[in-house]
Homo-oligomer: 136 residues x 2
DNA sequence: GTAATCTCTCTAGCGGCTAGAGCTTCAAGA
DNA sequence: TCTTGAAGCTCTAGCCGCTAGAGAGATTAC
């Protein structure tokens, strides 16, 4: 049994974030000490690590609720988990595509060789999307 | 002179967003009709289009305040504008790099060919970052 | 016993909007 | 000119995923 501070250190998740996850129903309401402080076991650490890793991979709090639920039922089919991962992947790819378009425009305007605002490619482009090469 | 609805349609920015930009000091407090409704001119449209385009390119509200200010002073050097664009570009590249690492992991776990949660690569990976190929 | 360090709950704030309630104003047609 | 319906007004609250702070109580080490 360890404190929330210890859990925080071990899992690499800030204390208020742990309490937030509890509120959001990701972490079960923790056991309490006599003085009402949260006490965690190895299980709590595992669960929190799962949550952290899922967040790092971009899953939403809602998704994670589902994934945690699934992980509790080893006999169930994993189709749902695959679907969530696939949706995540699609989303990530869409975001990459969008950012690449941004990168292209930003690279272009960063090449401005004017000295004053009057002829600055950055300002001119912001004022007129027609100067852009692509969509965004 | 046109209404906020008309401005919204022409600039492709929602009405509450326009009012929000006014609150944030990006749009100047608009002229008003006798009945206290906002009235805009071509200048307002230009300014809003500039804001919209800047947002699309990923600049923050704060950055945009600066960029608008710069754009009002054509004689000034454009170094500041370049710096902002460069910082934006760096940020976009960092985000792309991060998303690509994500993409790789998500692609890997999406290749799970198990049937049940018990052996599902998605769930296993979320429970153990050690199974990941890279950092994130 | 006392001091230092945790931890507790509760509330509010971040960015960039978005939505709704409850009201007033405007514009077009009869 | 009057009516009606759309559009506008302000104000407040909510979204996500935290993060920060106040002011209180608990724990721990010496
Ligand atoms: Zn320039
Ligand atoms: Zn553009
Ligand atoms: Zn699977
Ligand atoms: Zn990992």
């Amino acid at each position: 049994m360890f404190s929330i501070g210890e859990l925080s250190r071990r899992a690499g998740v800030k204390i208020p974030t742990i309490r937030y996850y509890e509120q959001m129903g990701l972490m079960a309401a923790a056991d309490r000490s006599e003085g009402n402080q949260r006490r965690y076991s190895k299980d709590g650490l595992k669960r929190l690590s799962f949550i952290r890793h899922s967040r790092e991979l971009g899953f939403s709090i809602d998704d994670i609720r589902g994934l945690l639920e699934l992980s509790q039922h080893p006999e169930k089919p994993c189709r749902d988990a695959h679907n969530m991962a696939a949706r995540r992947l699609d989303d990530v790819r869409a975001r990459i595509a969008k950012l690449r378009r941004l990168e292209r425009e930003l690279k272009r305007i960063s090449g401005c060789d004017a000295d004053t605002i009057a002829h600055c490619a950055v300002i001119e482009t912001l004022a007129d999307h027609g100067l852009c090469e692509g969509d965004h």
